[in-house]
Symmetry: C2
DNA sequence: GTGCGACTGGGACGACTGTCCCACTTCGGC
DNA sequence: GCCGAAGTGGGACAGTCGTCCCAGTCGCAC
């Protein structure tokens, strides 16, 4: 095995862990499975990380920090806010369909974090990040549609996050694209009503 | 230990398993933990069930079959459909607040079922049941409000399930009652728009 | 009451887990 | 070239997991 500084090994192990969690679930993400995925030995694992828990915590932090603007409306002007929001949510839906395992992994990591008091803040941080990204999309959409939010944007954002979460969960179970699109439409409808003329 | 027929033991073990999953998560629901919760010996477990997998499958089936009308609007007439739906969703929210661990357990069981192809149908059945209950509530609400659904009720129902799912997930993370109420309001608003005068 | 089948308890099994140890190799600075 | 620190490999550890076995006990039908 090539010699790799511990910091790079940490990164490689986190990537390997994410792949294992996505493919087989967090319960199967054992130290040996992660190490095999990364092509390393067990000793390298515990040289880079004190424990498996530390790795999982780092994984959550990494994956949350990396979360990108998924729900970004395509900014063709001349569209109503409702249309912008709907195409934004549908954009997220395409992202979900392109890599369902990733979103399922995110869901599992949240549930995992929810199960121990000391990890609960990680779940909160994850959702704070989602809300932050949602806020930005909402501000952008309102500005393109030339309207103003009548409800505080953070509140609208939390509602948007809840709606996309519900869409994700139900689609992962049913894989029903039409149902997901109906949810997107209803969500865009409800949210757009929280804005008014500037 | 008193002598108990295997069928009763199965029921007792399922109840014990539900308590363990609720309290500590499915990963901690080992045969020994379940047996301790039920006050039995390991042998009794494998006398009643062939394997832990069989127990978990039975647990999901039981708990889904038992799922009751949570989102039932209080039927005071004279309310608009929107109001009926909102109070219905808020009713579910109270149910969630009263026993968060139970809903978290349901979520975990879904995720668990989603992870193996042969268990995936259990997750589908769970959501089919949710949709069925939602349909009934929606029909009832429309009849009390004296309106008709313009969108097929099964479609409305799936959207309602997605919305309540999102509400559940975000509230379990943030425990933010106001945010949950905002989601309920927005969801009721969106759904009520799918109905019109009879 | 006797016998047989249903049920029980405790201990054991092999597999798998996270973690650790230790002898070894490689590298950068001198 | 040398040396200490950084990084590596393989094997071992104790603990926990699901499952199984077996000797024993109870209760009911006859």
């Amino acid at each position: 095995m090539a010699r790799i500084p511990a910091s790079e090994r940490r990164a490689a192990l986190i990537e390997a862990a994410l792949r294992v969690v996505s493919r087989r679930g967090i319960a199967q993400a054992t130290t040996r499975a992660i190490v095999a995925e990364a092509g390393m030995s067990l000793a390298s694992f515990h040289y880079a990380f004190d424990s498996r828990d530390e790795l999982i915590d780092e994984l959550i932090i990494t994956v949350v920090a990396r979360e990108q603007q998924a729900v970004i409306p395509d900014l063709s002007p001349g569209q109503s806010l409702r249309e912008l929001l709907e195409s934004g949510i549908l954009g997220y839906f395409e992202h979900l369909k392109a890599d369902p395992e990733h979103e399922q992994a995110m869901l599992e990591l949240t549930q995992y974090a929810l199960r121990s008091p000391e990890r609960h803040p990680l779940a909160r941080a994850q959702y704070a990040r989602y809300a932050e990204l949602a806020e930005r999309s909402l501000e952008l959409a309102a500005s393109v549609a030339d309207v103003a939010w009548r409800v505080p944007v953070p509140e609208v954002a939390r509602t948007l996050v809840a709606f996309t979460d519900g869409l994700t969960l139900t689609w992962l179970v049913d894989r029903d694209d039409d149902a997901a699109r109906a949810v997107a439409q209803a969500a865009a409808d409800a949210l757009s009503r929280m804005a008014g003329p500037r």
